[in-house]
Amino acid sequence: MNPEFLNTLGSIVGTATPLVIASLGETVTERAGVVNLSLDGSLTLAAVLGFAAAWTAQEAGVLDVPGQIALGIAVAMLVGALIALLIAFSSIKLRRDQVAVGFVLTLLAADLARFLGANFTRIPGPQITRYAIPVLSDLPIIGTILFRQNLLVYASYVLMFAIWYWLFRTGGGLTLRAIGERPEAAYARGARVQRLRYWYTALGGALVGLAGAAYSLNVKPGWSSPPAMQGDGWIALAIVIFGGWHPFRVVLGAYLFAALRAVSSNIQTNGLFLFGQEISFPFVLLNTLPWLLMIVTLLVVSGGLTERLLQYMPRAVQRRLRAFLRSDPPKALGTRFELE
């Protein structure tokens, strides 16, 4: 296969990683029945604070480069977890609407990021370096695509399998799904619903923070205003719906979005050639594609239209196609659990 093409696929996997990690984090949170709507803001704040921490350590010269990176990642994860915990707390203890608090935090965190990041604009800082896995990177095709990346990318693979395994193959995962679907039943069987919701919301938030660090320490190094990752939080939230709250499908969705973006930005810089003819077209409009894809995928998985189209299909196909296309949210998503 064309090595250049393989390299492109490899870079798509690399640039998709923050989206992958953020959507996986949100999947965990929403499986527990909590919506963390603040993604677009918390990603940004985690990114800038993670970068600021790593850069400060670099300037102070107190840590070696891996140490600076680790510090940056730790700070970013803490920021993500704290914002998520605030949403969980306001819902569980203060009985506020998760969507309202999440939305306010989206705006607040983004503004806070701009305010605190003002002194870190466009300065170089430590970056996560590539690390080819010895044997695996020599494999034909997938070696180039998957195993000549950095550690965060490998972490995203592990996360995907780990979350899938936890959700569908362990007792703890069964409880996790139960508190998002039928918290009363889970409670009756001895699950500590509220405490678990805190834990999983924090865990999901920490992953969102990790995704923020993946931007500022790797994919979009450093900090600039307006932030380079603006809008990606919303895309990650949509990917979770598209992915039907299933880790594998969520990751697939994230890669799809990243691929579409890579194609459209490639066309915008290099032009579009079909059969040797250059096609002229206002390429700016290609920037609409990720958002159009977002609407279309939500349309397909959310019912209305799909149901209507399915009516025209033969019975036997109907059922399978519906199971394949539709995705239903955890039943208790966004609601509070209270014992009366």
Partner: protein
Amino acid sequence: MTLRNPTLTRVIFLLLPIGISLAVAAALVIAVGRDPLDVVDALWQGAFKDSRKLGGVFNFWIPLSLVSIGLVVTFRAGLWNIGVEGQMMMGALFASWGAQYILLDESLAALLHILLLCLAALGGMVWAWLVGALKIRLGVNEIFGGVALNALVNVISIYLISGPWQPRIGGSAQGTEPFPKPALLPEYAPTFPVNIFMVALVMVAFVIIYALLNRTRWGLNLKAVGKNMRSAQLLGVATERTSMSAFLVCGALAGVAGSYRVLFTFDNLRPLASGGIGFLGLLVVLLLSIRLLWVPLVAFAFAAILTGSTRLQIAPSLKLDSSLAGVMQGMLVLFVILFQGVREVLFPVQNPTPSSSPTSQGGESQTQQVSFSQGDGDNIEAEKR
């Protein structure tokens, strides 16, 4: 708790979040090595130093009030119209089209202005209709539909500015050429650069929407749909049509708000001309637990902070990013919402009358409000089957 006086409790729980958010903002300012009092002074100077500055406050207040009034309508119906920013932008685009292609003589300026404002309302309604149709007919959650449509209209505006509408000389992505003079809304006086007609329009919109919400069947239907879609339907309310009407009203107001930005504030079309005012409107309405009465006042306070914040960058002792304004506003809304919760936990009401607020409501309507990815129309269809 020994506090038995409800008025006192209310006052305390009003002042507490304000005080805490100010304290946090002050701590932030100190953390970056500046004096909070300098910030207060700069904000005040930036907003109220002279009548020109005050004019600036009004120029934010006009669009902010319009979108906030519109958002009260959609929130009443239990809808999260995050697409309001895009609806403003679409209004701005429609008005910009009219300003460039409907060429009337100076003497017909008044007619032209009315035409342009109607066009802008239409533009906002088109974009709001899309959010509504996606939500009601096709089951796409309005938050995500709105976010996507916001991004779409931004790309479209950048395309127009750098393509068909680019200035004849020096075409860049900065903005279109200034619109012809008759299209621009006139200012009251150079010392008070505000369009008085639009101030009046805000007040008229406020009174009309207030009357519609509180004195008509439509207002009652909105409330019913917002509180409990199922029972509203059982009571014979045309829920889909009511929801859509809420979107359209909000879209029209947002469209007019957007047009003010291009026909008065900027005199041309720029990328992101809506400038986050739609989102700020959401904050205003959330802060007030969707009570319309206080919208003009709170919008004025927010507009003053926004106008004043431009001085944060200029003032020699500060040189701070103007996003501090957003931080202050966000903190305030967050703490107000959280303290409503604290109050309810500490002083539970004997007969809970669930307010229609999205921030303080009973569990039942909440399930309905956060019906992710599954349209309400769809639910009903499924039940009929």
